[in-house]
């Protein structure tokens, strides 16, 4: 009897834990740093999930990662039109800086047709979660970090 009870508890613990830890290891997203805090670990997780969706053209899901203020102003349909299809094949998170405790500037290296490009992402921490800012122009946010010094 004790044996069965133990097995049930073990199964519950196993499935319970599995549902809480979201998978973010993707073949097309690489993380080149070790998070230094829980908050940063969450950012890394969100970054991986977001770029996996973007690289695979899943804009319905990536839209939910965008800033609440941007989603308020730009509908999903407009968002899809603005972004178009992303041509990159791999994203690599290389560095994170914090110009403000709730603002992160993430440096990522993107592989597009066998060439690597360095780009900056802006993520904001709102209501215990990180949200990405999308840019409505083709130009990347050059010098974004300096803006907040």
């Amino acid at each position: 009897m004790i044996k069965y009870v133990f097995i049930i508890f073990a199964l519950l613990a196993f499935f319970g834990c599995e549902s809480k830890v979201e998978k973010y290891e993707y073949k097309d997203v690489n993380i080149s740093l070790t998070p230094s805090s829980k908050k940063e670990a969450l950012l890394v997780q969100r970054f991986a999930q977001y770029w996996h969706k973007r690289l695979n053209g899943d804009y319905n899901s990536s839209y939910d990662f965008e800033l609440p203020s941007q989603r308020y102003l730009v509908s999903l349909k407009e968002y899809k039109n603005v972004l178009g299809l992303y041509k990159g094949s791999k994203a690599d998170l290389v560095h994170i800086s914090y110009p403000h405790p709730d603002i992160a500037i993430v440096t990522r290296k993107m592989r597009i047709k066998n060439k690597a490009f360095t780009r900056l992402d802006k993520w904001l921490f709102i209501d215990d979660n990180w949200y990405h800012k999308f840019y409505q122009t083709a130009l990347p946010p050059i010098g974004e970090e300096e803006k907040f010094q």
């Binding site: 800033l67 609440p68 203020s69 308020y72 102003l73 403000h100 603002i103 709102i126 209501d127 907040f148």
Partner: protein
């Protein structure tokens, strides 16, 4: 018939709204009318009618007069202008209703705040002492000697008629003539004399410059952000409706 005056606003999908007004023979006022007139006064004149009898009287008198207007055939004569007035009123009401339906959460506002945090940097400030002189020569000497002599000694020497100290004043709130002379890299210096009027010459001594430090808290600008976002969405919604109806 329960209502004194029945107003039928019929929507015509061809060109314009068709307005049809019918007279009523029996003038009565009920509680719904009282409620409506109270709301109307609050919205239009920001005035609360507390007295129920007074509210009833306003409705009743308006009804009698409106009925008379119809009886005398004035509606037909003024039909076009009344139609324009009603359309204007309905459009405004619709706009208001649309605005009330658009709610902006704190989360959306916070997102805008963080994304535009530079806008919410606390402004730089200065502490200033102004010295007023009757004579321009004394004011000029005071200014000139302040480079080499302490202000306290100069005050004793030139005896300004008035002296006023302003602590930590936002630079943006200062007159442009002073603002333009403020140097963020300097402290303890005087500005050239300003002639205010005959017998009134001011010399400003910049005691200390406090650079921009920190950000204005979210709670202080939350409503301002919501209003700004509201305007953006509202303009968009309005355009969408007009475009849809025009098709």
């Amino acid at each position: 018939m329960r209502y004194v005056l029945s107003i039928f606003v019929l929507f015509s999908f061809s060109y314009a709204i068709e307005v049809k007004l019918l007279q009523d023979s029996n003038i009565t006022v009920d509680n719904d009318d009282v409620r409506a007139i109270r709301n109307f006064f609050v919205q239009k004149y920001n005035f609360h009618i507390t007295d129920t009898r007074g509210a009833k009287k306003i409705v009743e008198e308006n009804r009698i007069l409106a009925n008379q207007f119809l009886k005398e055939g004035l509606f037909q004569k003024n039909k076009k202008s009344i139609q324009i007035e009603i359309e204007d009123m309905l459009a405004k009401r619709y706009v208001k209703d649309l605005q009330n339906r658009t709610k902006i959460s704190d989360k959306v506002a916070k997102s805008y705040y963080l994304d535009n945090i530079q806008k919410y940097k606390k402004p730089p400030k200065v502490s200033i002492v102004s010295y007023r002189f009757e004579d321009i020569d004394n004011a000029y000497r005071f200014y000139k000697e302040s480079n080499t002599t302490s202000i306290d000694l100069l005050v004793k020497k030139y005896k300004p008629i008035k002296q006023m100290e302003i602590e930590k004043k936002e630079i943006s709130a200062l007159p442009k003539s002073i603002r333009d002379f403020i140097d963020p890299d300097k402290n303890s210096y005087t500005l050239p004399p300003f002639v205010i009027s005959k017998g009134k010459v001011d010399v400003f001594y910049i005691k200390e410059y406090y650079p921009a430090d920190g950000y204005i808290p979210f709670e202080d600008v939350k409503n301002q952000i919501k209003n700004s976002l509201h305007k953006q969405t509202f303009a968009k919604e309005r355009k969408k409706i007009l475009e849809k109806m025009a098709q």
